[in-house]
């Protein structure tokens, strides 16, 4: 069974500081990995995704993530955090639908709440 662990429930950083959010996954095959962001009262917005190939993936809003198979990790990074980045961040692992080739269910971590101090 697939699972995702986000060890940090809350993280506080100063505006302009760098950010790294941790994510570890468990999956029997090559995973599809995602980072989503959720602002209060909003749905989920996809920041970036990893399917295959280059292990360093670039996303929107200046975020990037690195897939490390040996560590079963997919950590999210941003060199300089902006106050508007304050939100909850979810890492997710997805399976592939063998029949349709499309995405099957996503399994999410419990999320990391990011607070940005001005």
């Amino acid at each position: 069974a697939q699972s995702v662990t986000q060890p940090d429930i809350h993280i506080t950083v100063s505006e302009g500081a760098s950010l790294e959010l941790r994510c570890n996954y468990s999956y029997g095959a090559t995973p599809y990995l995602f980072w989503y962001v959720q602002s209060p009262g909003q749905g989920l917005q996809l920041l970036l995704k990893y399917f295959s190939g280059d292990t360093l993936v670039q996303g929107i809003k200046g975020f990037e993530a690195e897939f490390k198979r040996s560590q079963s990790s997919f950590n999210l990074r941003k060199p300089s955090v902006h106050w508007s980045d304050a939100a909850e961040y979810f890492c997710a692992v997805g399976a592939r639908d063998i029949l349709t080739g499309g995405g099957n269910k996503l399994t999410f971590g419990t999320g990391t709440q990011l607070k940005v101090e001005l």
């Binding site: 399917f51 979810f90 996503l106």
Partner: protein, 116 residues
């Protein structure tokens, strides 16, 4: 191009009642998934509909049922509501593709259900 839309935005019910939540997928999408997000938790997969059939189901009781219509819109029904059913219910849609490619799921804003 409208994204995924859900209705209603908020809903308050009492224990034992039944509720129906609605979802319209993004234009061009034909596969709809439902997720439950309890307070302080990540979303949990309930089920997925494609071609008007339930294709995959998560670990949810039979009180949770769904339907997909010919226009690809979907409903989530929950019977005999429990206090623990209070959550944000998210709908996600994607296109089923013929190519060997993973298509991104797009999420709606959710329906906040409160059970008293």
């Amino acid at each position: 191009d409208a994204g995924v839309t859900q209705s209603p935005t908020h809903l308050i019910k009492t224990r034992g009642q039944q509720v129906t939540l609605r979802c319209s997928p993004k234009s061009g999408h034909d596969t709809v998934s439902w997720y439950q997000q309890a307070l302080g938790q990540g979303p949990q997969f309930i089920f997925q509909y494609y071609e008007e059939e339930e294709r995959q189901r998560g670990n949810f009781p039979d009180r949770f049922s769904g339907h997909q219509f010919p226009n690809y819109s979907s409903e989530l029904n929950v019977n005999a509501l429990l206090l623990g059913d209070s959550a944000l219910y998210l709908c996600a849609s994607r296109a089923a593709e013929a190519q060997a490619q993973y298509n991104e799921q797009f999420f709606g804003p959710g329906t906040r259900l409160t059970v008293l």
